[in-house]
């Protein structure tokens, strides 16, 4: 223990049978990386920081939006528009200034993930799309990192601990044993489409934190090789034992190089029909302030649009510059409605269905005509 105040801070958990000063020292010595500071990540981070996990990393490239706040309880209204990883770190340092918290204000990618994982003992998956979940799973298998998985859908949540004994070269199950191949993003609804009661990720994220604390301290039994499902409406719990499979192991990239070359977004993308909207719907949408409108024409193209606020991101740059889109709804337009369709496809590849995206049918020309007639 560093000092008396540390002792006092952790006293209520240290007096627990089986925990003690030893358990606290184990927490202080541990490092946990939380990927996704959202509905699951926020509660997990709050409890891990408060419990005194000595080193915590937070990965998230997203920014706080108003429709996050009902479940991402670490953030306040003042945080809207700010990066989640950085903002979470600021709040957590107030909760516990005695621990080291590092924020990585970026999305997990095949480029950065292996490096990010390498300096942490336990990884928590708090992400919200299959592309990233499969990428994290595979990276953790490759790096032999324990992965505490959590996910929610409407009124149900899942928790599991993967790769527990990989380090000991023993068989250990992972997400691919349950679901070998990623579903296409449009097969399964995400929170934005399906809705979620804020308290559910709160519970599942808290369970991820408690599983993590149990793994670190050796308390109790963890959900190793088990998947727990909780239903918030019926309070029913269901646990199943997972068997490690040889056939699914082959689906995971076998080398770091192969991992870096895997296109996870593509694995989850089926040729989704792009949502097209007409000039009338577009006219309604641009009057809302919680959307991003994007002009994907080249900067010199006319007609010039000065009737409403929008981003100018030419189609060729959309894959690298989509980071400036902060809202959950994105409306893309171009001259005639073709490039905007392509842009929505490209954005879907990058973002899965994290955002709702529309393409303006007939392009800005159609809207200008509509306005003239109006």
């Amino acid at each position: 223990m560093q000092n008396n105040s540390s002792y006092e801070r952790y006293q209520r958990q240290m007096i627990l049978p089986g925990f003690g000063e030893k358990g606290q020292q184990q927490l202080i010595a541990a490092s946990v990386l939380v990927i996704g500071a959202g509905g699951l990540g926020c509660p997990a981070l709050q409890y891990l920081a408060a419990a005194g996990v000595g080193t915590i990393g937070i990965v998230d490239g997203d920014t706080v939006s108003l429709d996050n706040l009902h479940r991402q309880v670490l953030f306040s209204t003042n945080d809207i528009g700010k990066n989640k990883a950085v903002t979470a770190a600021t709040h957590l340092k107030k909760i516990n200034p005695e621990i080291t918290i590092t924020s990585f204000p970026e999305y997990a990618t095949t480029e950065n993930l292996l490096t990010l994982l390498s300096s942490f003992d336990i990884i928590i998956d708090g992400t919200d799309n299959f592309a990233t979940r499969y990428m994290i799973n595979d990276a953790c298998v490759l790096m032999k990192k324990v992965l505490v998985y959590g996910a929610v859908s409407r009124f149900e949540g899942q928790v599991a601990v993967f790769n527990y004994s990989l380090e000991k070269e023993e068989q250990s199950s992972n997400y691919r044993d349950l679901f070998p191949e990623p579903p296409k993003e449009n097969e399964i609804l995400n929170c934005a489409d399906a809705g979620v009661l804020g308290v559910l990720p709160g519970m599942i994220g808290s369970m991820q934190a408690s599983e993590t604390i149990k793994l670190i301290t050796g308390l109790g039994t963890s959900l190793i090789n088990q998947l727990l499902t909780y239903n918030i409406l019926t309070n029913q719990l269901y646990t199943l034992r997972i068997t490690a499979r040889k056939d699914t192991a082959l689906l995971i990239p076998q080398t770091e190089e192969a991992f870096r070359k895997t296109d996870y977004a593509w694995l989850c993308t089926s040729p989704v029909p792009v949502n097209e909207i007409d000039a009338y719907a577009f006219d309604q949408l641009i009057q809302q302030d919680n959307i991003d409108v994007v002009d994907v024409r080249e900067l010199h193209e006319t007609p010039i649009v000065d009737e409403f606020q929008h981003h100018n991101i030419p189609l060729v740059k959309i894959k690298t510059e989509y980071g400036q889109l902060k809202n959950d709804t994105v409306v893309v337009f171009c001259q005639s409605g073709k490039r905007s369709q392509q842009a929505v496809q490209l954005l879907s590849e990058q973002l899965g269905n994290a955002k709702t995206m529309y393409s303006l049918q007939g392009g800005i020309v159609a809207w200008k005509n509509f306005r003239q007639k109006k």
Binding site: A151, V152, E187, C191, L240, R245
Partner: protein, 77 residues
């Protein structure tokens, strides 16, 4: 021979119930084939099958009072 089928997540909506009772199915393959016939949308869904809380990867013999669970993947967070 009676057995229970538990459906999770969207699968419960597909089938219209969280729980079904069936009779006389000898193994998971025939049970699933019948479910797919009865609920074609189920055949389009991804899920893992567990018998008596044990994940199964291949066809599995069922017995009296077996509980078969179908669980879809969740992505939300």
């Amino acid at each position: 021979m009676k057995m229970k089928i538990l459906l999770f997540g969207q699968l419960a909506e597909t089938v219209g119930s969280k729980e079904l009772e069936v009779e006389g199915r000898v193994d998971t393959a025939s049970l699933i084939a019948e479910l797919h016939q009865q609920f074609p949308a189920l055949a389009q869904s991804k899920y893992v099958i567990a018998v008596n809380q044990e994940m199964i990867a291949g066809n599995t013999i069922l017995s009296e009072n077996s509980i078969v669970a179908l669980l879809p993947p969740f992505s939300g967070g």
